[in-house]
Amino acid sequence: MKDPVLTVEGLEVRFQGAAGEIPAVQGASFSVHRGEVLCIVGESGCGKSITSLSVMGLLPGSAEAEGHIRFDGRDLLRLNREEIRQIRGNDISMIFQEPMTSLNPVFTVGFQLMEPLVVHRNLSKKQAFEEAVRLLERVGIPDPGRRMEQYPHELSGGMRQRVMIAIALSCEPKLLIADEPTTALDVTIQAQILELILKLKEDTGMSVILITHDMGVVAETADRVLVMYAGKVVEEADVRTLFEDPKHPYTKGLLRSMPNVDDDTYTLEAIPGTLPKPGEIQQGCPFHPRCPEAMDRCREENPRVFTHRPGHMSRCWLAEEEDQDHAGESVG
């Protein structure tokens, strides 16, 4: 396997609330390899966005992160503000869910696109302008010279997301984090944007963390998949294994809740119940109240991570018999 670009080990994120500490991410560990697309999947509130914001050092002030996030030989959680700022938008970039509100309404597209070029690459205004036009062309925006002078409200949602991608790619990052980049877009535009991200990944060799709740997007784009539930990674596998041989009942549920138009006999199933509320103390596996396969043990003991084969892990008692790696991390 190629070298990891980013390695997250035992990431814990907690929010300080009025009612005490609320855990948002609990012991997440994973790595992203060079040129790979890692999809993080899960329902809203499962901790996938918080995980990515931890990597960017953009957690809100009330949050506290522990563990290790290694990138380029450095632990991002131990860098000071200035050091992490120099990495943001330069080595690691991020695009967000809402293209309509992610661009500053009072500055031109050109200004916002030139900013990282001036900040990180010390380009002159003129050089930055030329580079920005080239970037807009690259993300498929017609008439880039004119677009440079326009304001975000003059662009459609798809166009704005293309601008966001151009901004994210401006300094040729090693890692791009895309947090639900297509959720707010029309279906036809969604496909175009995903295609664009994949094409740019091929061209530049960067790695991508794609956060989504859409298993269709996962099937289209991922090399490897991380399934998160209630702040924990519950399954990790390469995309083919995950779709063909899912181990965790939650992953199975996600796959069953995906529409399938090719199969007439297919019935769409929803996962019953909802995510536990953040901060709700629960005994046993956090998924057991919604799990069709829950056993007595699931209600009492939180499962540790079991390895099915190299690269395929799940956090479910059902997997215990198949466990190949008994030295797996134990979880409290």
Binding site: R88, F96, N104, V106
Partner: protein
């Protein structure tokens, strides 16, 4: 942009006509008789009648208003009932003092208000924030005349850093600035407090926006995130408050001018009201109202400059 300005300028015409009419009517409806003020306690009935006849006070109100307004459009605000002096001239002599005071006050208010509001928002829920909130509350609550007297007592009488009263030099000279500082602080404090509160809530609103997160994700320095990305958006509501307050300050100079013995339009207005000097009061009020409306126009233009979305509406 030019279209917006021209459109707004045309809208001013009916507005100013309306203001002049309201001022005219309310003064004539107010109790008190200018003729008896002019004639004095010894004037006979016949004297008063002849004074009224001379001033045209016996004509129907609409005739009087029409006579007045046709003068106004030619720049003639009439003559003082009391001193027979030209109202335009009397106002123009005093107006620079009032205008300079209002400008100095709004500068003081903006610098203190925006600065304190910004710090208070960035350091939300810290002791700095609490200090700024208490300061703002005090600023709004303290009456002008009291603050002015205390400032004179401390800085003019006790320490003699600044002159106690009067404006004798233009504001761009050192002496002129010294003369303006205490009145400007006195007049500007209340506005500073309002501007600080508005800035705080605007910054807190903007700082939560997605585009601020985008700016940070780009690796923009925190200073630019706040001063450029955040403040440019937060200034939109703040400018409204600054504009409105400038209007209030123009009117609010009355008390401050009195406290600091500044020969401005405010003092002129007080004397004119006491003497039932209709034309003088009308002229002064019309001037302040016109300025108020013009400042609001300026605010609208600034909006459009700051926020591109407004330019196209």
């Amino acid at each position: 942009m030019a279209g917006l300005i021209v459109r707004r300028l045309f809208q001013l015409i009916p507005l100013l006509l309306g203001i002049s009419f309201i001022v005219f009517i309310s003064l004539h409806l107010a109790p008190g008789d200018p003729a008896s003020m002019i004639g004095g306690p010894t004037a006979t009935r016949e004297d008063l009648a002849s004074i009224r006849e001379d001033l045209g006070l016996n004509d129907p109100l609409f005739t009087q208003y029409f006579r007045y307004i046709s003068g106004v459009v030619q720049g003639d605000l009439g003559y003082s009932y009391q001193t027979k002096q030209s109202v335009t001239e009397a106002i123009m002599i005093r107006f620079p003092n009032t205008f300079n005071l209002a400008i100095a006050s709004i500068i003081v208010a903006t610098v203190i208000g925006v600065g304190a509001g910004m710090i208070s928002a960035i350091k939300q829920n810290t002791s700095l924030d609490a200090l700024s909130t208490i300061g703002a509350l005090a600023g709004i609550s303290i009456p002008n005349f009291w603050l002015g007297s205390v400032l004179i007592l401390l800085f003019a009488v006790n320490w003699q850093w600044f002159p106690a009263a009067g404006v004798t030099q233009p504001p761009w000279t050192l002496q002129g600035m010294k003369e303006l500082i205490l009145p400007a602080i006195t007049l500007g404090t209340g506005s500073a407090a309002l501007i600080a509160r508005m800035t705080r809530s605007a910054v807190l609103e903007v700082i939560r926006q997605d585009y601020i997160r985008t700016a940070r994700a780009k690796g923009v320095k925190e200073k630019s995130v706040i001063l450029l990305h955040c403040m440019r958006n937060a200034m939109i509501p703040v400018i409204t408050v600054i504009g409105l307050n400038f209007g209030f300050l123009l009117g609010g100079t009355i008390i401050t001018e009195q406290v600091f013995a500044i020969n401005g339009v405010g003092r002129l207005m007080i004397q004119a009201i006491a003497n039932r000097d209709y034309t003088m009061v009308q002229g002064a009020v019309l001037l302040v109202a016109t300025l108020f409306v013009l400042v609001n126009l300026l605010v609208d233009i600034l909006y459009a400059l700051i926020d591109p979305r407004i330019r196209y509406e």
